[in-house]
Structures are given as C-alpha cells and as structure tokens.
C-alpha cells in the first residue's frame, strides 16, 4: 500500500500516462515470453521462417510468369544436393528443391494467414452472435456447428477439394470450411462466461448500450483463447494443407512443401532422399514453431496468472 502514501506526482498528460501503463504491460508480456525458453525457440523459428517467406524474391530469382510455380530445368532431373545451380538438388520433374523450400514458405504463409484470418472472423461473428444473443439464434447456430464438427476435418476438406477440383484456392476454401467451427465454439463459450461477469452488469447500470458493452467489455475479455488457438492453427493449417497437396489436391507444379514431398517420395527407395526430406523438414519446423509459441501464449495469457502479476 505504499501507493497511497506516495507523494503526488506531477500530473502526467493523460495519453502519456495511459501509454506508459500499456507499455509496461506489453513489456511484462514480452519479458514473460523471453523467460520461457521453449516459447523463445519457437518465436525465433517463426521469425526465421517468415523472413524466408517475405524475402523469397530476394533469396532466389522468382519464376516468371507465376513465381508460385516451380521453375523446371528439364536438363537436370534428380540431381543430388550440391550440384552447381541446384544447392539442394532437384526433383524428378527437374524442379529446384531450394526454390521449392523457399517459395513453399511463402505459399505456406499465404495459406495460413488467409485461412486463419478468414476463419477467425467467421468464428468470431458466429460465436459472438450465438453467445451474446442466446436463445433461438444460439440454438440454431450451435446445431450448425455440431453438424460441421461431426465430420472428420481431413475427410471433409478432402471431399470439398475433390468436388471442386485440384487447386490452391480450393485448398484454402476446404480448410476455411473446416476451421471456423472451432473458433465459433471457443468464442461462444467465452462470451457466455464473460457476459455473466459483474462488470457487464456494472456497464448496464451506467447506461451503456448493448453493442458498446459487447465491444468494450465482452469481446476484449473473450479473445485470449482465440489468440492461442489462432497461433496453433497457423501451424495446423500448413500441416493439413501439405497433407491435401500431398494426395494431389493442389495444382501440379505448385511451389508447395506437400507437393514436393509427394513428388520426391517415389525416389526415396532409390536413395534420392533430398526431394522429400528438405520440404518435409520445413513442414515439421513450421508446425513445431507455431505449436511451441501457441502453448507458450496459453500459459502466459492465462488470466489466472495474469492477474497476479
């Protein structure tokens, strides 16, 4: 209680004061991240992978006209790593494995960002409506969610992609159709819990409108698990996306890790391990990194530990 006896400080300008507190809060958060070694490893991996994706055009010459298509060197099929011009070797179709690894990162980033942001938005809307309004709307939306949840996600995505034909866009669509349900559920549960808090009643007593109460009191306090799930899904989406393209649902020649693994797998028994191994490793690292960070967030953002800080 030293605070109450504290001498009067000179009046800080309101914005500065608020910023300072928020900055301290952010500082505390980042300190927690840095203190947890596994989260830190995950975070460094993510930074590395995303840098590869962003700087892909600088790392290797983009293919023309479509840089997401593998360049083909028909003169160099199944070259081992270390071949001049093909550091990580080539695929049975003459694709440069290094190009695939680097531009595959870009494909993966694109895929996961689109899918996660679209599904989070859909889930947020559906879950909020169901949780905040309740009653018949809740009943209807949640039965809809139940229907989606009762279909195994991989098979469902497979079915969609199979019906719509093999293309990257359809993989995005298939994954989005599968992933939003989870967010709707999480948000609904959160909203229902949070709206029973007394500070929501307190806001009603003040006379604030329902919409503003939702935006200021309910939603910000419901969002934490979505951040965690979203981080985990950045990894999961790429994992399932790679699976789908592995079984041939992406267009041929796409610079995508799953496609490369699929192309290289036939050669593994013949000792041509490189075409599958490098992209496979990338999928592994990508999924690992986001899972490490997601789990770290879960611990750090846990409101129980947060309030004690």
């Amino acid at each position: 209680m030293a605070t109450e006896a504290a001498p009067r400080q000179p009046t800080p300008a309101p914005v500065v004061g608020a910023l300072r507190t928020r900055a301290t809060r952010f500082g505390e958060l980042s300190r927690d991240v840095l203190r947890n070694p596994t989260t830190l490893v995950g975070l460094l991996l993510i930074v590395a992978l995303i840098s590869i994706a962003i700087f892909a055009p600088l790392l290797v010459e983009p293919n023309t006209p479509d840089p997401y298509q593998m360049p083909r060197d028909w003169g160099a099929l199944n070259e081992p790593p270390g071949t001049p011009g093909h550091v990580l070797g080539t695929t049975p179709h003459g694709g440069d494995v290094l190009y695939g690894v680097i531009w595959g990162a870009r494909t993966s980033l694109r895929l996961s960002l689109i899918v996660v942001s679209v599904t989070v938005v859909i889930g947020l809307i559906v879950g909020s409506l169901a949780g905040f309004l309740g009653g018949k709307i809740d009943e209807f939306l949640m039965r809809l969610v139940d229907v989606f949840l009762s279909i195994p996600e991989l098979i469902f995505a497979l079915a969609i992609a199979a019906v719509l034909g093999p293309s990257f866009a359809n993989i995005v669509l298939a994954l989005a159709a599968v992933f939003w349900v989870k967010y709707a559920r999480i948000i609904r549960g959160q909203v229902i819990t949070i709206k029973q808090n007394e500070y929501v009643d307190a806001a009603r007593v003040i006379g604030d409108s329902r919409f503003r109460i939702f935006m200021k009191d309910v939603l910000p306090n419901s969002i934490t698990p979505v951040v965690v799930q979203g981080t985990l899904d950045m990894g999961n989406v790429v994992l399932i996306g790679a699976t789908l393209s592995f079984i041939g649902l992406a267009e041929a020649g796409l610079a995508e890790w799953g496609v490369l693994v699929s192309q290289g797998q036939a050669g593994i028994s013949a000792g041509r391990w490189w075409a599958s191994t490098f992209p496979g490793l990338m999928v592994f690292l990508w999924a690992l990194a986001f899972n490490l960070v997601g789990d770290g967030f879960r611990d750090i953002l846990d409101p129980k530990t947060e309030s004690k800080r």
Partner: protein, 452 residues
C-alpha cells in the same frame, strides 16, 4: 461539482416528496427447466410480493440468508432485471404515492376502467420497467450499484480512468482533460488520487477496488445507490474504512442507500430502517431500533441470536434453528418460516409435506412403503401404503411426538381405510404483514416482543 450534487439532492426534495423509491408488490419468478427439451417444470419464486418504501436520504437495510431473494430484489430495483409482477416506482410525489398505494390495494379484477387508466399513467411515468426512453435514462443516472465482488465488477482490461470516467463518457458529460479532472475529483472523494488514474484493477487491493467501484457509482450524481453486500468480501479493518466512506458520502451528497447484506452488525451500524426477508417474502420491516430491540418476528429473533457480537456474553450458547431453508420452488404454506420456527403454533400453515419431512428426519421408515399420494388440496391428502400394517404404523407415528406438537394440533382429520391414510390439516391463509407500531410491521400470527 460538490455544490451541484448537494443542491440537487436537497432543493428538489421538498418538491418531489419524501420517497425516493417505492417497491410495490414486487415478484420475480425464475422458471425451472427440466429434461432434454427444457420444458418449464415450475417456478422458483425468488421474490414473492415485496413492498416497502425508501425515504430520501435514508438507508434501508435488506437482510436475509442466501436464497431469500435479497440480491434479486436489489437487481430489480437497480433495473438489471425486470420483475415478473409488480414494480419499482421512482420520482413519486406524496399525492402520487398515496394514490398508487390506494389503487394497488384494490384487487386487479375489481378495478374500474378509470382506476386502470390512472394506474397506467402512473406506471408510464414512474414505474421503472415501463418508462419511456428519456425517463429511463433519467432513472439510469439516478440509481447506481456497488457490487459485492469488486474484482469481478471492474473490467480487468480497463484503466481506472476509463472505469470511473465511463459513465461520464456514456452520458456525454465530459471528455479529454475535463474527464480526467472529474475522475480525479471522484477518486479523491473516496480517498484515492491522481496517482491511481493509470493503473489496472489487478494492481489494487480489495478495499481500493471497492473504492473505485464507489467512485464510479458517484460519477453521475445519483440519488440512490444500491449496495449489494459491498463489504462482505473484505477484511474487517478494510470494511470499516469502506463503511466510513459510505457514511461520509451519504451525509455530504444526501444519498439514499439500499444496503443489502447478511451481516446484522453492519446493518445495525448503517441502516435507518431494516427489511428482513425470508424465502422471497418480507418477514419484518421496521426502524433499526425496532428490529434490533423489539423484533416481532421469530426469524428476526433467530438471526440476532445466531450472529455473534462483541458485546454478547461469550459463554452464552447460540440459539439455533432446526432444519434448513425449504425448497423455494414449493415454499411452505401459511407462514413460510413455520417449518423452522421455535414458537410455531397450529395456525401457522402446517401441511402434509411438513409432516412427511418431520417423520423422515426423525428416522422413520414409514415412507419406504408409500406407493401413492392423492392430494385433495394443499392441506389434505390421502397416503396409500403397501399394506395395512404400514398404514397403522404411519397413523400411529402421526399421532406420536415424532411430529411437532404444533403440527399435530393442526390436524383436523386423520383416518385410515385399509392401507390408505387420510390426513387433513387446518386450512390457513398466507400470513400477512400486520402493524406492530409506527412504521413497524411483521408477518407473524403471534404478537409478542421477541427480545425477552
């Protein structure tokens, strides 16, 4: 700011009458849902016909045990829950109030069209769940709430400035620099200050958080503050700080309090008038002195005797109540307290269920062989047992001292026909609040002072 609050409170008081809030026959029922289809299987009558007035500038204490409906009543008064029946009236002049009481005294079916029209006009202007938008906003500003759990009632992601300044922002009273100054002023009122503006609720102790809640409640210059157990989560030394602050604010700002608590010593210390509730009904209303020194309801008396006080004789035994609070979905008939009342008489509303419960608690095995119950009325039923022997045993048990003497006295018919036992009790109406002194009413068939 001080000046404005003070003047609105007093100057208009003469004009607007003495009564700040009038609660009239308030009822709130919650449905009990059952089964997969969530069918409504019955209603819990959380608040079941409560009437009382709160005078301007006074503190009314609302006491009772958990489940008596005091919190629900508080939520109805603060407009967070709409009542099922009856209502909360505000801004009544003396004449309006008298008129309203007279109108509501007439049973609904006997009201003439004129009466109905008059009631409707009164409702539209004064009943808080029927107000027009403008009047509703006025009431919203006039009535604020301080909740029990100061941690749960402050948004953990908002800074103190946002929390305390929010009412001002919502009603577009201040913004920017002016808002900050107003917030500082409010914080100073509750013994905090500028240095607390930019902190989050979790950075404060329980007592400080409750101060922040009070500052927020004061922001709109309300007349009435509903205090829902404001100190039950606090330690005694901090509770003293908060109670002192509440007292000072009341005298400075001419506030009216509805103070909800289960703690009798706090009520005695804070309230001018006390409403004692039991199972959704008012047991007794009176001035604090009446309730503490001359209580006329056995339940009030039991509450006193069960609450330890530093001035009691430390070696005295607690006088305790038998049994537990009955199921509010099916409250006892007559007087709701009779099942636990130490001085219950035969006219307190005994019925079949009470006797069954009493026999079960006494360890009887009579009801293992019970096959069917036919109810003729609330007070009369046929109990069918498997065989004649069991029926004889039950009949004997009903006549024995395993059933409270008062309940036995209420039996008007007890007969047996084979394995069928018919038992009927004296039919009694629900007990009503009766006058015991000026402003002192109690709902008990007895009229004796309980402070012997």
């Amino acid at each position: 700011m001080t000046a404005t609050i003070g003047s609105t409170g007093t100057a208009d008081a003469t004009l607007r009458g003495e009564i700040a809030i009038s609660v009239r026959d308030l009822q709130k029922h919650f449905p009990i849902r059952e089964g997969a289809l969530q069918r409504v299987a019955g209603h819990v009558r959380a608040v079941d016909g409560v009437s009382f007035d709160i005078k301007r500038g006074a503190t009314v204490g609302l006491v009772g045990e958990s489940g008596c409906g005091k919190t629900t009543l508080g939520r109805c008064v603060s407009g967070l829950t709409d009542p099922t029946f009856g209502g909360v009236y505000f801004d009544l002049t003396e004449a309006d109030h008298a008129n309203l009481v007279a109108l509501l005294a007439v049973p609904e079916n006997d009201r003439t069209d004129d009466m109905k029209r008059e009631l409707e006009t009164l409702d539209k202007r004064h009943r808080i769940d029927k107000l027009g938008k403008k009047d509703w906003i006025r009431y919203r500003r006039n009535c604020q709430v301080v909740f029990q759990d100061a941690f749960a009632s402050l948004n953990p992601r908002h800074l103190v400035r946002e929390i305390v300044g929010r009412p001002l922002k919502v009603h577009k009273e201040a913004s920017g620099e002016e808002l900050t100054e107003r917030v500082v002023e409010l914080l100073e009122r509750v013994g905090m200050g500028r240095q607390h503006l930019y902190r989050y609720p979790h950075q404060f102790s329980g007592g400080q958080r409750q101060r922040i809640s009070i500052a927020r409640a004061l922001a709109l210059d309300p007349e009435l503050i509903v205090l829902d157990e404001p100190t039950s989560a606090l330690d005694v030394s901090v509770q003293a700080q908060i109670l002192n602050i509440l007292h000072d604010l009341q005298s400075q700002l001419h506030l009216t309090y509805l103070f909800i608590t289960h703690d009798l010593s706090v009520i005695r210390h804070m309230a001018d008038e006390v409403v004692v509730m039991y199972l959704g009904k008012v047991a007794e209303v009176g001035s604090t002195d009446d309730i503490f020194d001359d209580s006329r309801h056995p339940y009030t008396h039991a509450l006193h005797r069960a609450s330890p006080d530093l001035e009691d004789d430390p070696d005295a035994e607690f006088v305790t109540l038998e049994g537990s609070v009955p199921d509010p979905a099916r409250p006892p008939k007559g007087c709701r307290f009779h099942t636990r009342c130490p001085v219950a008489t035969s006219v307190c509303g005994w019925e079949v269920d009470d006797v069954v419960r009493a026999l079960e608690d006494a360890g009887g095995s009579h009801f293992g062989s019970l096959t069917d119950v036919t109810r003729h009325s609330d007070f009369s039923a046929d109990l069918v047992l498997t065989d004649e022997k069991a029926a004889v045993a039950l009949e004997e048990a009903l006549r024995s001292d395993r059933v409270p003497a008062a309940a036995r006295g209420a039996i008007v018919e007890l007969s047996r026909e084979g394995s069928r036992v018919r038992v009927s009790f004296q039919e009694v109406p629900e007990v009503e609040l009766t006058e015991r002194g000026p402003g002192h009413v109690a709902a008990c068939v007895l009229d004796q002072s309980m402070r012997a």
